[in-house]
Symmetry: C2
Subunit: 392 residues, 2 copies
């Protein structure tokens, strides 16, 4: 549901350079958390022609082979040879990681563990809507499914000439009640090997990627398809575009349908509220919608660095609430503890669960089948009952 | 105006590492545009202890001394010695910039200049509201003014112990009509020299930075002040936190009050719609509010790479419209040409105007007095009359 009559969201594949950077940052985070759950990690990555640079601040007792992790992630994305433009085995890996500032650390660690301060100031939003069964906006949901499908037909060689880098974009038309009614435009650009002719590529992408994913009743003669509109996309990945961690934050979240606080997720351990409080925000919003208290809900929380209690908790149900918003806020305060310690405990965040989040969105989905992780805790609707109880 | 009863926005100072990166990227863009207005620039920067790495894709006939530009920006921010943690004169400058992919270029350049294709796919939002005289949301406006003031009293030595890195955050309380009514919480963390005692720092920050900036009628005994809540912030800049271009996109825009498409601004020449169409979106939204067609307005536009016409233009006036939204959209289509070529022409974007945008927000303000640039073209309300005419 939205006030817009048209709404557009985009996604990118696992071979997109910014997403390579995100996956490297989260793979490093996971490797460290697996050995040292209390580590402090803020890992930033830059990838460009022939090089991956890892940076940021890490304080840990774990010893991990960072270079091997970086090379492994790049190879996993499909960049395994100079033929495709980037090679995990032979690229340069540069490490300029430092330690977390002890002055930040003194603000975060507390004798009383429960009083753990927020790792930074900031604002975060969580969102849910009953527009899809995963309680996510439809445009981002389908944008993700397009690039997931691109990945699948590339990996299983249905379309052997596909290469790892791709972007999707979906423009959805909404009816007067704010319900999805059709697709106005689809954009899909995918990297490819030089052999394939553009007309063949376009036909195959429409038949094997777009049509299997998008609901047939939303496609019509009025739907515009833009498949590889530049005409050629052989050069891709870090050669064509420098990749940085945290540069796909709208793809990572709600595709623009919800507001965003600006903080990135990948590479950050959950003492950073940019990540943990955004996950908690999704959890709260989803439970509100699951409880039937609103059909659409956005929550904003904010923090001061070194302080446990949020500096604000605020709610917007876009007029869809079935109970006054102020009362829902009270129920949220009663049912959810949004201090960093409590979020980490309740969502069980001190585990190596992050790498799968770094592709195809952090919300509204199960982890990618390829990596076999279980469901994300912040997608649980386990507090809907308690919210209803608090309001009755 | 907002549906939220509390709303929080943040800003950061020019010494914040992500903002150092943004300023370097935009200074490089400016230097190149000054000599070669048709250059293609996508410049990404990473700063970390002792090093600035510049990367991205640039195609130009200009010769510019990149190293000197990088050192100059760092020195300008106030990082001029190892004592403050970073020194523009002696840090390492690493250049891994490549060229724009000719395959992207073939999608952008056209024989008919007017048909210039969008430099990338993507979605962008523009926003305006009559909440402040600059037609911006109040929380981000005041968050910016706090760090601007920090910069001023640091530079004029009113508070000589201030150092360049700082962050501000403002939580505003709105009344039932969605009008600002008071400030619930202010967070200000500023880097400082080791001599100053925490209690002296807190008092001086409140008296010399917070009180001169925030409207007295919004401050009360209920206002919570969090000044340097970690207790110590001597280590700052790139030593404490790795900085990357494009990692403060919510600070750069509307502080979270408006939606965001995810694209960053700094370092990108205006053939990239992430930047130019977001600027145009602000221009359109501001003219709609200035024309009295709505008191609050958000526009979404989207593009396909290599295609000139937007794939969608959509409007949300949050129920504040005085004319049906569909009619306003028609008027926008009549009065504004949102093809990249036309945006660049109408907003006169092929000039070295970008570095001042990289601090204190891209919208709702005149350039910082310190750099003497004139007003930003996208803040003009020069089409309000035409919009009204189109609707009558
Ligand atoms: C267009 S590039 C960004 C602009 C780039 N920095 C430049 O210098 O123009 C953004 C993304 O588009 C995709 N891309 C790269 N080459 C492309 C091509 N030839 N056609 C379509 N999409 C492409 C890749 O996913 C890439 O990461
Ligand atoms: C808290 S740091 C980000 C977290 C960091 N990457 C880490 O390893 O924990 C984000 C920003 O906070 C500010 N900052 C740095 N040190 C601080 C301190 N001791 N107290 C308060 N703010 C600080 C700086 O503006 C910095 O860029």
């Amino acid at each position: 549901m939205t006030e817009y009559s048209l709404f557009t969201s985009e996604s990118v594949s696992e071979g997109h350079p910014d997403k390579i950077a995100d996956q490297i940052s989260d793979a490093i985070l996971d490797a460290i958390l697996a050995e040292d759950p209390r580590a402090r990690v803020a890992c930033e990555t830059m990838v460009k022609t022939g090089v991956a640079i890892i940076s940021g601040e890490i304080t840990t007792s774990a010893w991990v082979d960072l270079e091997a992790i970086v090379r492994g992630v790049i190879n996993d994305t499909g960049y395994t040879s100079s033929d495709v433009g980037f090679d995990g085995a032979t690229c340069s890996v540069i490490n300029i990681i430092g330690k977390q500032s002890p002055e930040i650390n003194q603000g975060v660690d507390r004798a009383n563990l429960e009083e753990q301060g927020a790792g930074d100031q900031g604002l975060m939003f969580g969102y849910a809507s009953d527009e899809t069964d995963v309680l996510m906006p439809a445009p981002i949901t389908y944008a993700h499914r397009l690039v997931e499908r691109q990945s699948k037909v590339r990996r299983d060689s249905t379309l052997p000439w596909l290469r790892p880098d791709a972007k999707s974009q979906v423009t959805l038309r909404y009816d007067a009640d704010g319900r999805p009614e059709g697709i106005d435009a689809v954009v899909l650009s995918t990297q490819h090997s030089p052999e394939i002719a553009l007309s063949d590529l376009r036909e195959a992408v429409i038949e094997e990627i777009i049509k299997p994913v998008l609901p047939a009743e939303w496609l019509s003669d009025a739907t515009k398809y833009f498949v590889n509109p530049t005409g050629k996309f052989v050069i891709g990945g870090p050669v064509g575009d420098c990749g940085l961690t945290g540069r796909k934050i709208i793809v990572d979240s709600y595709g623009g349908m919800a507001r965003h606080g600006g903080g990135a997720f990948s590479g950050k351990d959950p003492s950073k509220v940019d990540r943990s409080a955004a996950y908690a925000g999704r959890w709260v919003a989803k439970n509100i919608v699951a409880a039937g208290l609103a059909s659409r809900c956005e929550i904003q929380v904010s923090y001061a660095i070194g302080v446990a209690e949020p500096t604000s908790i605020s709610l917007n149900c876009f007029g869809t609430e079935t109970v006054p918003v102020a009362r829902i806020v009270d129920a949220v305060r009663e049912v959810f503890d949004l201090r960093p310690f409590a979020i980490i405990r309740d969502l069980d965040l001190l585990h190596p669960i992050y790498r799968p989040t770094a592709t195809f969105g952090h919300f509204g989905r199960a982890p990618h089948p390829l990596n076999g992780a279980t469901a994300f805790t912040w997608e649980r609707t386990d507090r809907a009952e308690a919210l209803r109880a608090a309001l009755s």
